[in-house]
């Protein structure tokens, strides 16, 4: 093979050499450390070149070129910061701003908006082009995602993340000219669309055209109501990311500080969704071993990720029988709080208000599924808050999480094994299940707790795992639904045989969830460096625990003895399992 061709050029007078095919933007960043301003560009998405903010001057070219989409050529002379190009960039941004509401003071993204940051760094200090502005109503039909087309700059990042990363294709630009807006088919409401509520559009949006639906007011109200016993549970992934909201370095575990902060906010009990993650493993591994014994409905598809469950119901309904009937850890916990815990404490379940802190927007949809309704018509999970909403609440209360002492979860629903912590990252559920399944099959715990083969830093992984001399399991791990499609299509066609497939809707798993903090300085969404740091936090917590397998969590054993009976038994089925149904409109895959 021929060696890669190298291109010589100068950027801001500095001679550099880069491989052929490098864009101007990449060359400036890699060789000079100059980050050319950008809005529509994202390194993990296809190139669109629509915002024009990244223009540069190229000697001999009579117009400014978009540095994100133009590849370098031999002898190219580029200016990234000449007075003329700085002025042009500022003009382009001002034109975007003048078709944008002047609402920064009351905007939920105030302080972490890319458009706002750019207005500052490009030196926009006055608004010159005061003209007609597009007008659209705010669309709030979805329980998880709010769409505000007036704040949209038509960069198309949401459209591309929805199509290219999630394979959902729910969003597209509708209309033309001044009335162009991003919306589902027919300009329908999000609630009437194939949206799976994963929230990646929120993460991808540089402004506040997509934001999470806020439930914090309902939670403040419950916390202030003396008749309510307010119980909170926090998902595995929260402890790996909540610190980012308070200036802690990405990847810093903050379990203890998180518990203290929740107690300060006034929650009566602080439980850990990790506990029911362990419980999920017991139930799901039991379910798998049963199916495996009977060679029935394999591969087993995990069902903890509500974005994936929504996707399955709309895009792959024929695979519903393969999905694990286990509820997600969140819904198991809420179910136990309003049955087992309320009874044990002698509290009327109607007076218990359950709040779940989740890395996820789709959990808000899961919480209000009729399958998880209480007998009085309420929800088992009364409110599901994203990590972002929790960070807001803690800040709003006047607490600096980074400065807090460590606290301990309350018992009995607070103890967990290390297997539960890793639920928050892609491959974690499968690894946790394998730790238990290997022990059940072989009669002794695995010599090595880490199943590093399934730790998928990439989006898709297929592995053959030797459980013992007679048994090899073929497993798949996917995160980002576009990746999942590749495995699921092979299952549907019968082309490949698997025993278990773990599917997480969001890139990286829950650590990259649609409800997670906007990336700190120096990182972008979908950034493998950021996801790896968050994942490492969870693996570190796991490594430092004494109990690392769900079936060795003593609190779980006690719960079965005291209340649930047998794994997969009748009580377990009533409280810990669920069912799914096809939904329309059916998605195009």
């Amino acid at each position: 093979m021929s060696q890669q061709q190298m291109i010589n050029l100068t950027i801001d007078g500095v001679p550099v050499t880069v491989p052929k095919g490098t864009t101007i933007m990449q060359a400036a960043e890699q060789k000079l450390g100059v980050k050319i301003p950008r809005l529509c560009h994202h390194p993990k998405l296809s190139i669109q070149g629509s915002c024009r903010v990244c223009v540069v001057e190229v000697k001999g070219v009579p117009f400014y070129m978009a540095s994100c989409s133009v590849q370098v050529w031999e002898g190219m002379e580029i200016q990234t910061n000449s007075p003329a190009i700085r002025q042009a960039r500022r003009d382009i941004l001002e034109l975007l701003l003048d078709n944008h509401p002047r609402a920064c003071l009351t905007c939920v993204r105030d302080g972490n908006c890319e458009l706002q940051n750019l207005a500052y760094t490009l030196g926009v200090r006055e608004r010159l082009f005061d003209g007609e502005r597009k007008r659209f109503p705010i669309e709030k039909s979805s329980v998880s995602i709010v769409r505000d087309a007036e704040k949209c700059i038509l960069c198309g990042r949401c459209v591309r993340v929805c199509a290219e990363v999630q394979g959902v294709h729910n969003l597209s630009q509708q209309g033309r000219g001044f009335t162009t807006h991003v919306a589902p088919a027919h300009g329908d409401k999000m609630d009437d669309s194939v949206c799976i509520q994963c929230g990646q559009c929120i993460n991808a949006c540089p402004t506040a055209a997509f934001v999470g639906h806020s439930d914090s007011d309902r939670v403040w109200k419950a916390l202030g109501d003396p008749t309510k016993h307010v119980v909170v549970q926090t998902a595995p992934a929260i402890r790996a990311t909540v610190g980012e909201g308070f200036g802690m370095a990405p990847g810093t575990p903050a379990t203890g500080k998180l518990v203290t902060a929740l107690r300060r906010l006034g929650f009566d009990r602080v439980f850990d969704t990790n506990f029911t993650a362990d419980l999920t493993i017991i139930e799901e591994a039991t379910e798998f071993l049963n199916r495996f014994k009977n060679n029935d409905r394999l591969p087993l598809l995990t069902s903890c990720s509500p974005g994936w469950v929504n996707f399955m119901e709309r895009f792959y309904p024929e695979l519903i029988p393969n999905a694990s009937s286990c509820r997600s850890p969140m819904s198991m916990m809420s179910s136990l709080i309003k049955s087992y815990y309320a009874k044990k404490e002698g509290i009327d379940p109607k007076d218990v208000f359950v709040v779940a802190i989740m890395p996820c927007t789709a959990k808000k949809f899961e919480a209000q599924r009729p399958e998880f309704a209480t007998p009085d018509g309420g929800q088992e999970t009364d409110a599901s808050l994203t990590t972002r909403e929790l960070i807001f609440m803690i800040k709003s209360y006047g607490i600096d999480l980074a400065e807090l002492e460590d606290g301990e979860f309350d018992s009995p629903l607070g103890a967990s094994s290390g297997a539960a912590d890793i639920f928050g990252t892609t491959g974690g559920v499968l690894e946790a299940a394998l730790r238990m399944a290997a022990e059940v099959i072989n009669g002794e715990p695995p010599a090595q707790m880490e199943f590093v083969e399934v730790r998928a830093v990439e989006g898709l992984r297929v592995r053959e795992l030797k459980v013992n001399n007679d048994l090899t399991l073929r497993v798949g791990v996917s995160n980002g639904l576009q990746n999942a499609k590749k495995l699921l299509d092979k299952v549907v066609s019968g082309e490949e045989v698997f025993h278990i497939i773990e599917v997480m809707a969001c890139p990286g798993g829950c650590i990259g969830g649609g409800g997670q903090p906007y990336p700190p300085r120096g990182y972008t969404i979908l950034d493998p460096k950021l996801l790896a740091k968050r994942a490492k936090a969870l693996y570190t917590i796991d490594l430092n625990k004494d109990v690392r397998s769900s079936n060795h969590n003593p609190a779980i054993k006690a719960l079965y003895d005291e209340f649930l009976g047998e794994p997969g038994g009748e009580t377990a089925h009533r409280l810990l399992h669920t069912h799914y149904q096809p939904r329309l409109p059916r998605g195009i895959r």
Partner: protein, 179 residues
């Protein structure tokens, strides 16, 4: 152990969804779409298909666009994105007869505006609208390439040249009778 499963046992709705989609279109159009769907890049056939659908129905209805999405396996958001982008595609039903008044330079100079005013007056509608009886839709268009005949009005495929406002009622009557 007991299993919780869908009670109806009909999880795979693929065929049902396809059949619904087919029912929203004519068999000829369905056959055409199926041919296009076999293309290596079905999405590149989308505009052709939408042309065909509009050619038959006169406009692109919601049901038809959803059916195109399912049969061509192109996301519905994309189908409606394309349909709303191009000026050629109409989402609302049009009248039986489409009247286009040329407002290009030559026609305009020769008095097209007066003809247009008379048409709007006689029909009781504005440009872009359809008469209540569903007979006529009125469109303003730019040059139709017959400037020598200016001012020009096109009804269906027939071109009326040298138009004066007073000729309008007779032409409308002719089509009303034809309907």
């Amino acid at each position: 152990m007991s299993h919780h499963e869908c009670c109806c046992g009909c999880n795979d709705n693929r065929e049902a969804v396809r059949e619904n989609a087919k029912a929203a279109l004519t068999p000829e159009i369905v056959a055409f779409i199926e041919e296009c769907a076999a293309d290596a890049h079905p999405e590149s056939q989308l505009i052709r298909v939408l042309h065909r659908v509009q050619g038959h129905y006169g406009h692109l209805g919601r049901e038809q666009m959803d059916a195109v999405a399912q049969l061509l396996q192109v996301p519905a958001s994309k189908v409606t994105g394309v349909a709303t982008f191009y000026h050629f595609f109409r989402l609302e039903p049009r009248g039986k007869f489409m009247i286009s008044v040329c407002l290009g330079t030559a026609c305009y100079v020769k008095g097209a505006e007066r003809v247009a005013d008379r048409l709007q007056e006689e029909l009781g509608i504005h440009f872009g609208e359809t008469t209540k009886d569903g007979l006529f839709s009125l469109n303003a268009t730019r040059c139709v390439g017959t400037c020598g005949l200016a001012p020009v009005v096109v009804v269906e495929d027939k071109v009326y040249g040298g138009m004066t406002p007073d000729q309008v009622p007779a032409i409308l009557e002719k089509y009303t009778k034809k309907a």
